[in-house]
């Protein structure tokens, strides 16, 4: 038996069949054994029936990115067989329902027309018929360990114990989790305690799942008495792990960071953040009251940002969370916030556009939108997070920057981070700082000089607790009183715009662009957001292939770390922008703000994440074939 550091798992099945729960159970289970976990969920904008899958990595060290082929793939239905049979290779396990042996691709009713056409084309190319039985035969001939299990037998086994058939059928997702566990060499029996934890208070559900685990293990044992690869012992020393989605970890960061007012309008993939937060709105531990957040569901995104701005004027630490279509509606108010020195954080989860685009898929195509959205010119800060740990800290930092400099802050994330589950160390909140900036609460009649020209950053007031204060979207004087005087206009304009220079001066460039790997080498990958995981793993693999590679991770796009980016690039013979968009917007920003020419690029805009294997291949292609651009396309 071979001990491995990482195991890659894929579970495919129809939306609504419990894969989400299976992902949660698996993530928590592996975390309870001390493993690092990263699990991506790919799904359609649909409640039931369309194809979805979980793609996860379990690591004895650190699960930072995903790749193909996987070690274990479990197909819950016919469609999954056809969609994922190429995601495994020699030595992988492929689990499918023996009962579907004689089904064909035509039986996958929810399969999209164009996907079906592509798969049929592929089958033809490989000389495989459209029967499931033939596909698995081909897999076997390719050296894949095919594990056929009759799912109806599992269901019947549970029915014998008195479980209603429909309930037993639903528990099949637990079979998927059990199979994934068993086939990476971990005893699934110990998963029972995780199941008890996840379904706490629902005794009958726990019972059903226990029965399913038992039935699954005995079925798997009879087919695979001994697994070929086994996950090695975890090397992390953590006593406990935080198992969270990106949405959840941002909610946590905001609460820790002192957020006390969050507004939102439901939109994928942002809504889970506010939803999770709502469940935690009363921060109370035993008898100790720590604070509370008002999570306010509005009638639209215009009201979401407008109410957040209003709450900020009253002195609350505020944010709103949305995605592209929602941010489109917020833009007019963003400009008002810029005009009035309002500290407001917009947590922005990018998804595939334009328009409704790919609402449940990821993208990085809104960078320029966030940089320049809004009529007129005003200072704003744009911060992007690359993984869950960053997202947590950045959520706090966004609130700090917003209040300290009295500017709108856009915290850029994407669907990949939003929905991905990771197991990460519990954050040490004592290491965080809370900065509220300058404000005055106390006596005095006012009007208050809210927009003072004497200070780089003026003093804020809290409506109702400070002297009378005026705000207006019209150009105004130091007291917030309307004035269109041309000379005053210049002074107020400069006052606002200078804030960007202050931020640029005060936030270190090394913090705004972080280098992974050595300061010099053959190639520098430059990216941002979720690209971080694949890129940091790719540079390691490239090193093993003899290419000295590093990764420059851009975290601030406004103000842009121009000097740092220019300096770092000098150390490399080649630099490549890696992004989830078409235009290479981070590259465009680098050109605009740092005068860097975009020469080579690796992009992906299918809405699926960049996988380490395809990124490595693409970099090799740049070297070997001399191409300037590689468009990535892997993933169902």
């Amino acid at each position: 038996m071979l001990g491995v550091r990482d195991a890659y798992i894929l579970l495919g099945g129809p939306q609504g069949s419990g894969l989400d729960t299976a992902m949660r159970i698996l993530s928590r289970f592996f975390a309870s054994l001390g493993y690092s976990v990263l699990a991506d969920r790919e799904y359609y904008s649909n409640i039931r029936g369309k194809h979805s899958y979980v793609h996860m990595r379990v690591s004895a060290t650190k699960a930072t990115s995903l790749k193909y082929p996987v070690d274990v793939a479990v197909a819950m239905d016919v469609e999954s067989v056809f969609i994922h049979f190429r995601d495994v290779s020699r030595g992988s396990y492929f689990v499918y329902d023996l009962g579907t042996e004689s089904s064909t691709i035509e039986d996958a009713k929810a399969l999209e027309k164009y996907t079906a056409m592509r798969v049929k084309e592929l089958l033809k190319e490989l000389g495989i018929s459209e029967y499931v039985g033939d596909v698995v035969k081909w897999l076997r001939s390719e050296g894949v360990e095919v594990v056929g299990i009759k799912y109806s037998d599992l269901i019947n086994e549970l029915v014998k114990y008195g479980v209603p058939r429909n309930v037993a059928t639903r528990a099949l997702s637990t079979f998927a989790a059990t199979a994934a566990t068993y086939l990476v060499g971990i005893d699934p029996e110990s998963m029972v305690s995780t199941v008890e934890d996840v379904f706490r208070g629902r005794a009958s559900v726990i019972e059903v799942n226990k029965l399913m685990i038992k039935a699954s293990v005995s079925a798997l044992r009879s087919k695979v008495p001994k697994v070929s690869k086994e996950l090695g012992k975890p090397e992390l020393s953590e006593d406990e792990l935080l198992v969270v989605t990106g949405n959840e970890v941002v909610a946590m960061g905001k609460l820790v960071g002192g957020l006390r007012f969050q507004s939102y309008y439901p939109i994928t993939p942002a809504q889970d953040e506010s939803f999770y937060m709502e469940g935690k709105d009363l921060l109370k531990v035993g008898d100790k009251y720590l604070g509370s957040v008002l999570v306010f569901q509005t009638e639209d995104e215009i009201a979401a940002i407008a109410s957040a701005v209003g709450a900020a004027l009253a002195g609350a630490r505020v944010a709103t969370a949305t995605s592209g279509p929602g941010f489109s509606l917020m833009v007019e108010t963003l400009s008002w916030a810029g005009m009035n020195d309002v500290p407001v954080v917009i947590t922005y989860y990018q998804r595939g556009g334009p328009s409704t685009g790919l609402p449940t898929r990821g993208a990085q195509s809104d960078l320029f939108f966030t940089l320049f959205a809004g009529h007129g010119e005003f200072p704003r800060v744009v911060i992007a997070s690359g993984d869950h740990e960053e997202a947590f800290k950045d959520a706090v930092e966004a609130l700090n920057i917003a209040e300290k400099y009295q500017v709108p802050v856009i915290h850029l994330l994407d669907k990949f981070i939003a929905n991905t589950v990771v197991a990460m160390p519990v954050p040490k909140t004592e290491e965080l700082v809370i900065e509220r900036g300058k404000y005055y609460v106390g006596p005095g009649e006012g009007p208050f000089k809210r927009f003072s020209l004497d200070e780089e950053i003026p003093t804020r007031t809290f409506l109702g607790m400070s002297p009378i204060t005026y705000y207006t979207g019209v150009e105004h004087d130091e007291y917030g009183r309307i004035s269109e005087d041309p000379e005053l206009r210049i002074r107020m304009y400069v006052r606002r715009m200078r804030k960007l220079e202050v931020i640029d001066r005060e936030v270190p460039q090394e913090h705004r662009a972080v280098l992974y790997g050595s300061e010099s080498g053959d190639v520098l990958l430059i990216g941002w957001g979720f690209v971080k995981g694949a890129a940091t793993d790719a540079i390691e693999e490239l090193k093993s292939l003899g290419i000295k590679a590093s990764y420059l991770h851009i975290k601030y796009f406004m103000p842009f770390p121009s000097r740092r980016v220019r300096e770092v690039i000098k150390g490399f013979s080649k630099y490549v922008f890696v992004e989830h968009d078409y235009l290479v917007q981070a590259g465009m920003a680098a050109k605009l703000f740092a005068g860097i020419e975009v020469r080579e690029r690796i992009v992906k805009y299918t809405g699926r994440p960049i996988y380490t294997n395809e990124l490595v291949d693409a970099v090799l292609k740049l070297f070997k074939e001399g191409v300037k651009e590689v468009v990535l396309r892997y993933g169902a």
Partner: protein, 321 residues
Amino acid sequence: MERERRYSMKDYRSEVWIEWCPGCGNYGILTAMLKAFEELQLDPKRVVVVAGIGCSGRIPNYYRVNGVHALHGRAIPFAVGIKLANPKLIVIVHGGDGDLLGIGMGHFVALGRRNIDVTVVIHDNGVYGLTKGQASPTLPRGVKTKALPRPNIQDAINPLAVALASGYTFVARAFALDVDYLKRIFVEAIRHRGASVIDVLQPCVTYNNVFTAEYYRKRIYRLEDEGWDPLVRDPSEARSKYINAMRKALESGDRIPVGIFYRNPYVPSYEERVAQMNPYYLKEPPSRQVVEVNGRPVITTDYFRRVFADRIVKVVGRGSK
């Protein structure tokens, strides 16, 4: 400690010169509100006036209370954020009928559903004045005010019916130039706990040559003069009073009723609904909370573990902290 003082109407008025046309209905609305503030002896620091865009949007400048000149159609959500962050404030929204019932209608309806304790004043003159006299949502179909190239092709909205249907618990209509009467309604609206709205009929002397001061003066009568009782005195009365108010709001003809149409103190405000779930809310609303101790989060690592216990997994066989 600020000393006890008595505020007079002019204490609420700023020094800024008023840029409305002579004879504008806005003067009546401003004066009535200043008088209402005086009568209620409101602390100017506790009052926030939020306005939209247009002629009425300039009104915060003329008050000596906190003023937020927001965006077209968005005065209500700005006001809502202010109020929810600090429920102790008295929050008043001024907006035109185009602002509140056209571009901002979604927010207008949503405020009613929530019954947040905000007072909305509709400056209802039937036209978009500052953009030179286009038809606004309250201008009836077929009417041709002087700037219109042809008669209005769209039907008018009934602001009171919309307010009632949306859940406002204080619904009134008044005339801008009957200042004392308007003041009395403002006083009652501000006292009301919950969402209140006053549809203030006002002339636009420059662009509305149909619905003039003269027009209104001839037709207006006061509801109470005909024995109207808008107040829900017991929850069991709510439905019948509501239906009566709706019927009255839909009345058309040559007589225009003004006064309080409906007033229901029994619907919990949004703030009360929040307080029911979070008993700390009214005492420590979002704007009054301490979120840091010496620049560090209130939520220590230990508290973090307990608050977010649902997402923390203990590693089997390792000691717990």
